[in-house]
């Protein structure tokens, strides 16, 4: 199989992940999109490793480490999102507006109990 196929698939997956991070308002979905990006890179690394015929198997080793780190990262990310959810009853990142560049004092948080997925 030519290297182009897995490379293009990985690039497409990565783009879908980037779209997810930028367009999603639910923090959990943003985390899922980051995971998608990391897995796209894994696919790319393994494909390059096979294509290059690397004696040291650098791509596969790096893929293993990325899997581990992605798992740790998402565990931590969920803990942080849980912390925010406890206090605000929402995981919409639109609701996190208190730290922003503005002239006046931070606006009052609107009380929204929102469980919509978007």
């Amino acid at each position: 199989m030519h290297i182009v196929y897995p490379a293009v698939v990985a690039a497409l997956l990565f783009s879908v992940g980037v779209y997810g991070v930028l367009a999603r308002r639910n923090a959990i979905l943003v985390l899922m999109s980051v995971e998608l990006m990391l897995n796209a890179v894994n696919l790319n690394l393994v494909a390059f490793d096979v294509w290059l015929g690397d004696a040291l198997r650098g791509g596969q080793v790096l893929t293993l480490f990325v899997i581990v780190i992605a798992a740790a990262e998402v565990g931590l990310g969920l803990a942080i999102v849980l912390l925010v959810f406890r206090n605000r009853q929402t995981v919409q990142i639109d609701a996190l507006r208190d730290l922003a560049d503005r002239d006046a004092e931070p606006a009052e948080r609107p009380e929204q109990v929102s469980t919509e997925i978007s």
Binding site: L64, I67, V68, A71, A72, G75, L78, A79, L82, T115
Partner: protein
Amino acid sequence: MNLYVPIAVLALIAFGFAMFSLVASTLAGPKRFNRAKSEAYECGIEPTPQPVGGGRFPVKYYLTAMLFIVFDIEIIFLYPWAVTFDALGIFGLVEMVLFIVAVLVAYLYVWRRGGLEWE
């Protein structure tokens, strides 16, 4: 490509069979509607209304899942050592013991802080 032709044919047959069963049962079956037939479960238990969005999950599920992930990841690192442990000799043993001890420290922390309590 001709390696995949049998699989494609099998997929087509499976899809065709499923579609045929659905269509045939819709067309050929008698249409009798009563309350009992349109319920989700036939066992007779009324489904209780669930809150919007699935309701609150106790956080202990998250803790259990996270602990599983951490120790599963530790096992991932043990597989390469398992394949080459005789070539790596004493060095490999010492290093892997140190790694397992490091994860053990995390386990001790979780144990002492009550993360392993279910209730």
